[in-house]
Amino acid sequence: MKKNFELQLSGSGGQGVILAAIILADAAIAQGLNAVQTQSYGPEARGGASKSEVIISSEEIYFPKVRKADILLALTQNSYDKYVDFLDENGILIVDDHVKVDEDLPNKVYNLPILNSAFDKFGTRMVANIISVGAIYALLGENVIDKNIMLRSITERVPPVTVEKNIAAFNEGIKLIRG
């Protein structure tokens, strides 16, 4: 595997990108890797754009913040606008499909119906974050984190009554990437 993955997950406050990042970091650790998860706090976290970061690495992680994202998730226009500059030139962008992406963006872009899938297939936008986790997981590839570990991490971190729905959402996210 690549030594180091820097992931940035963004959306509006309440969309659960922090939990998504925690699940990813948790799984990475269970996998025996190192991971550091951070997030933006403050008034922004309430209403405005919310950002959460994970660095996954096989080595010790010193600097805990993402400098250039290998993967950027943006669930809202606002968060895309605010954070797109953090994307590495070789990085991958995942956006919800209602987000307008700059045409000249050189990156690989996944334009996924995350919010709509959540609503249409699961009846609640609340699972958009876990769908996103699925998509990110799919892009990282099996050889970074084991799927079972991912599933356990989700199971441990979401409210017990929602486990099933969230696991389905996770699989939905994988499907959005792998088709």
Partner: protein, 378 residues
Amino acid sequence: MSNKKYKLLQGNEACVEGALAAGMRFFAGYPITPSTEIAEISSQRLPLIGGKFIQMEDELASMAAIIGASLTGLKSMTATSGPGFSLMQENIGYAAITETPCVIVNVQRGGPSTGLPTSPAQGDVMQAKWGTHGDHPVVALTPNSVQETYEYTVKAFNIAEKYRTPVILLMDETVGHMREKMIIKDPSEIEVINRKKPNCKPIEYIAFKPDKDMVPPMAAFGEGYRYHVTGLVHDETGFPTNNNEVAENLIRRLVEKIEKNIEDFSYYEEYRLEDAEVVIVAYGGVSRSAKYAVDELRKKNIKAGMFRPITIWPFLEKQIREVGLRAKEIYVAEMNLGQYFLEVERVAGKYCSVKKINKVNGELMTPDEIINSIGGNI
């Protein structure tokens, strides 16, 4: 496959884990960003093990309550950030002069005043030493990772108990809010120190008469040793005095019991220092960037190294002197306008050039910023 001994924890959570491992049984606090999780988790965890949590009306009261509880025999802690830390100062001095063990966590945020409540900073370093009036002893520790937060919270309690003194765990928002993998140790692996109790009869107990180690044994209220505690300058019996010699002895002993025992808790990390010509001195969150910068500078054939004080107070005079004697240049990188720098310059300035790298914009200092500051100079 899965590695069960590792957990993903936030720095603030790790602080509570460490405190509980060290034997904390009392927490009094008042919420404030970015330290609030420490209170919240304590409130949830303590009753489960028969411990006590109380949310006080403000930080002055929180500090007072933990002193009261500690005098009554419970290991006690509070946690706060800048504004609350300022409010605790008077009673921190009280803990110092009454030799009451306690741990005060300050998860630093941007100051002064309300400042930047959710941003990392290291602006309270000098305040940790000088915030209360009058000469007084201070121990302050600055962990730089979630794991260290756990370990050094334990050590903070141990130092507090062993030396009967308030100990400050000086975190920063970066470390407090970061999640990282952490090993929760088995209780058997953790050294826990408890305060020394009197082993004489109550009638013979002279409450503030120090042993050879300069620390008096401590009885808890309710244990049959009825004694007097005051924030006034007092003699060995604990009663107020205006005797000049006794006063001088007390103040000097309080400070010396810490400074003369510094070897016992001189914690620091040396990174690639052996042949280093350029030494970055950094602590807390910034030291993570500094370590990265050292590796990068080495790649550019600059003989860089890092000295990272974990015990930030009392000042590691001996170690910094040695660094100064060996290095050509020292850069003190801090998220303030140059606080620890002053002490480094004082001690090492005779031997090498000491420069500062500062940032107070509310973002963690990056490796590049450190590299560029040094590069610009080389």
